[in-house]
Amino acid sequence: MAKELIRLEHVSKSYDGNMILDDLNLSIHENSFVTILGPSGCGKTTTLRIIGGFETPDQGRVIFDGQDITNLAPNKRQLNTVFQKYALFTHMDIAQNIAFGLKIKNKTDAYIKDKIKYALKLVNLEGFEHRMPDSLSGGQQQRVAIARAIVNEPKVLLLDEPLGALDLKLRQDMQYELIRLKNELGITFIYVTHDQEEALTMSDHIVVMNQGYIQQEGSPEKIYNEPENAFVADFIGDSNIIHATMVQDKLVRILGANFSCVDTGFGINTPVDVVIRPEDVELVPRGKGTLPGKVSHVIFKGVHYEMEVEAGGFEWLVHSTRMAQVGDEVDISVDPFNIQVMNVPASEDEEAIEIDV
């Protein structure tokens, strides 16, 4: 594992009595692409702004490269930000925008010129030096904003929903672009978004936040396959989240039927939540599965069929390449490895996070 670059220690922040961040601890490693993912108002942007220096936490510390930078002004930090609405200087042309940070640092003209050229090439905007920001498209402006940030050779690039204002096609292109940039520059990216697809596509490490708390962090695969609670499961992709009872180790009772699973250590007859991804639900002929049900909707989605199956009083969401007919009597079967068992939220705070998003 690479060395730790940024650490947030017990960071809290509130506005007008509203707690935005509550005792947040987060560690970010060098050369990683970290995404902070969560619904709006979850505290992800505030976290980014605290790292960038635009907010001061009420409590806690920000450690950068071993040094406490909690109260350091933004202009003294070795990181740069790409803002959501680009925040280009409309009274300067593209070259002047990119040169801004370098001029402040009193770099030589030749150096600046080289850097502008290099940066524009990097973001595929060669020849745009003397255009004004207003004459550029949203995607182009976003690239300028990135170029403007990276010429300063920051150790960390903070990106605040940078693709939020772009249309779908452009957004997908830019995702690859950002991965390429990150690899070419070899620096740390901290990326804030509410778009789970973006997060899963680009990140090495995802931090899922809600209501000022970190819900789960880990690799995209881990977050997707092993959500630790209902919020994460629901926020990342589609899923069937069902109240269940852990009968004993490796056996869970879901909607009255006993399913084998691989989880242990929950105790006996403990209430739990289980998450089963729609693509992990297998439909088998009646009598061959665990739970009997009836197909109620079928929609063709291209790569698979999306079906709803009424079973045990629950509408199961099922993705399958094999089509069933509406009204088919089927059984539901799930591979033990694909049943993710989670603790039921115990405190009120945790309860609050189960807000449908």
Binding site: F54, H91, A149
Partner: protein, 272 residues
């Protein structure tokens, strides 16, 4: 309506007629009167009269006082507009209204109030002498006129500056800080240049009325101090020399046109 030229022309015709009769023709009248003498013969004497020492002096004084007032207004209004624009609290509207409210009092009422305040035995001196402080003799001086100008025209400076500053996205300022600029650098490299259109319109809205006022100088200057506005007014109300009054107005228009051209040029260069 949006593409029917016939309807559009019909709809625009009342204003076009109005504008021609009451804007264009009257301006032509000023040129006509200003460039003729009483008998109607062409002459440049009325315009040239600006070169007379007494007229030149009142023009010069008006320029100086207007300039000072504009600078003071700018220096007072900019920090205020910044404070107003940065307060993103709910009471922002109320506070902004508070600074605009005096505009609803009649302009002459406000100026009259300053007479009362600044007089030798006026309110301010009354308060000063109550505390045993030396009194000030400011009424009927240029300083009193400047105070009157600043007071009356300050809202005209605050409004455009406030609008310009409020339009700047926070993230632009943050971006500059993020790129390494300190607060001072950010102000001079980002905030100030971005508010140039607002500054220009504020300057115009203060400088032109200050340059051409005659009521403020009459009221607070005790008729001792003659500005170009007083000279022109007197041509109409005292000397009854309409041609001369129109001729001197033409000189004023020259300043206004210069101001307009400068504004337009700066506007263009910042837009191109």
């Amino acid at each position: 309506m949006f593409n029917n030229r016939q309807t559009s022309r019909l709809l625009a015709s009342p204003y076009i007629a109005w504008a021609v009769i009451f804007i264009v023709v009257p301006l032509a009248m000023i040129f006509f009167y200003g460039l003729t003498d009483e008998s109607g013969a062409l002459t440049f004497a009325n315009v040239a009269a600006i070169a007379r020492p007494e007229n030149l002096k009142s023009l010069g004084l008006a320029l100086v006082l207007a300039l000072i007032s504009t600078i003071i207004c700018f220096l007072l209004a900019y920090p205020l507009a910044m404070i107003l624009a940065s307060n993103k609290i709910s009471s922002q509207g109320i506070i902004t209204t508070l600074f605009i409210l005096p505009m609803w009092m009649n302009f002459l009422l406000r100026t009259m109030a300053w007479m009362t305040l600044l007089e030798n035995k006026g309110v301010i001196n009354g308060i000063l002498s109550f505390f045993g402080l030396p009194t000030i003799n400011i009424i009927n001086t240029s300083a009193a006129i400047v105070i009157g100008m600043v007071y009356n025209f300050l809202p005209f400076m605050i409004l455009p500056l406030y609008n310009a500053l409020a339009r700047i996205d926070d993230s632009v300022i943050n971006a500059a800080r993020d790129l390494g600029a300190n607060a001072v650098q950010t102000f001079f490299k980002i905030t100030l240049p971005l508010t140039i259109p607002g500054i220009l319109s504020g300057i115009t809205m203060v400088f032109i009325p200050a340059l051409t006022t005659f009521a403020i100088s009459t009221m607070l200057g005790g008729s001792k101090i003659l500005l170009i506005g007083n000279v022109i007014e007197q041509e109409f109300t005292l000397s009854y020399d309409w041609n001369m009054g129109a001729g001197l107005s033409l000189v004023l228009m020259l300043f206004i046109i210069v101001n307009m051209v400068v504004t337009m040029m700066t506007d263009k260069s910042s837009n191109s």
